[in-house]
């Protein structure tokens, strides 16, 4: 199973975010732009982090923001936001964050195969710095290996 769809409309290069909340909101807007989620999904992603802490920063410089499947998810989708200035999420090891991925999935069943594809991309340690410095959306799509 391929990655969830990552159209150019879901990619923001060099975004300005003052706080981790801003960064997650930009990623939520990107999911909204691509038609994957409604506006409310961004606040759901923020609530997950407020509730459980900055565990979404799963690797140095990378946050994987997501909430649960629900009415704010319109279809499976991925968004990528690169930050012009890295922001701290409060993670003890992996701050500051330069790349925010946002994931929206419609149902839990069957999504692990597409998560496996994320592991295929990011198990290569060069992927995060390459995305962080990508000049445009097409370059991000090329690194992520999605259509």
């Amino acid at each position: 199973m391929p990655l969830p769809p990552l159209p150019e409309s879901a990619i923001v290069i060099g975004a300005e975010a003052e706080t981790w909340r801003d960064a997650v909101r930009i990623a939520g807007s990107a999911l909204e732009s691509s038609g994957a989620a409604r506006a409310g999904y961004a606040e759901e992603m923020i609530r997950m982090i407020e509730e459980h802490g900055p565990y979404v920063v799963i690797a140095p410089g990378l946050a994987l923001a997501h909430a649960r499947p629900g009415p704010d998810v319109l279809r499976d989708g991925l968004a990528v936001v690169t930050l012009s200035t890295p922001v701290a999420f409060g993670h003890p090891h992996n701050d500051p964050v330069r790349v925010v991925l946002a994931l929206a999935i419609r149902s839990i069943e069957g999504h692990l195969e597409s998560i496996a594809e994320l592991a295929n991309v990011f198990n290569d340690a060069s992927a995060i710095p390459a995305i962080a410095t990508a000049p445009d959306a097409a370059a991000v799509i090329a690194i992520m290996g999605s259509e």
């Binding site: 900055p54 799963i58 994987l64 090891h93 496996a116 990011f122």
Partner: protein, 90 residues
């Protein structure tokens, strides 16, 4: 053997941990059932698990358990996962 990966929603980061743990186990020639679950269901999901993989934020919420709780820092670093799993299982 049963290994459970725990995160907030049971869909994103725990899914990545599950996938990478399966890869490391295969490399080590070990057999285990690896599942992903959310923190709210940890008591039932991990009741018979030998190992729980998670982030530092969830250790307190996981609470008392017979399982070995392993904290992973970089979810994409298979070397970290391999050495921590080996230490726990060896």
């Amino acid at each position: 053997m049963k290994i459970v990966a725990i995160c907030g929603a049971g869909i994103g980061s725990s899914g990545i941990l599950k996938v990478n743990t399966e890869r490391v186990l295969k490399k080590l020639g070990l057999e285990a059932v690896v599942t992903a679950a959310d923190i709210a269901s940890v008591k039932s999901a991990a009741a018979d698990a030998q190992v729980i993989l998670t982030s530092a934020e969830f250790v307190e919420a996981i609470g008392k358990t017979f399982a070995d709780v392993i904290v992973i820092e970089n979810y994409f670093d298979q070397n970290e996962l391999e050495s921590k799993l080996q230490k726990s299982l060896g």
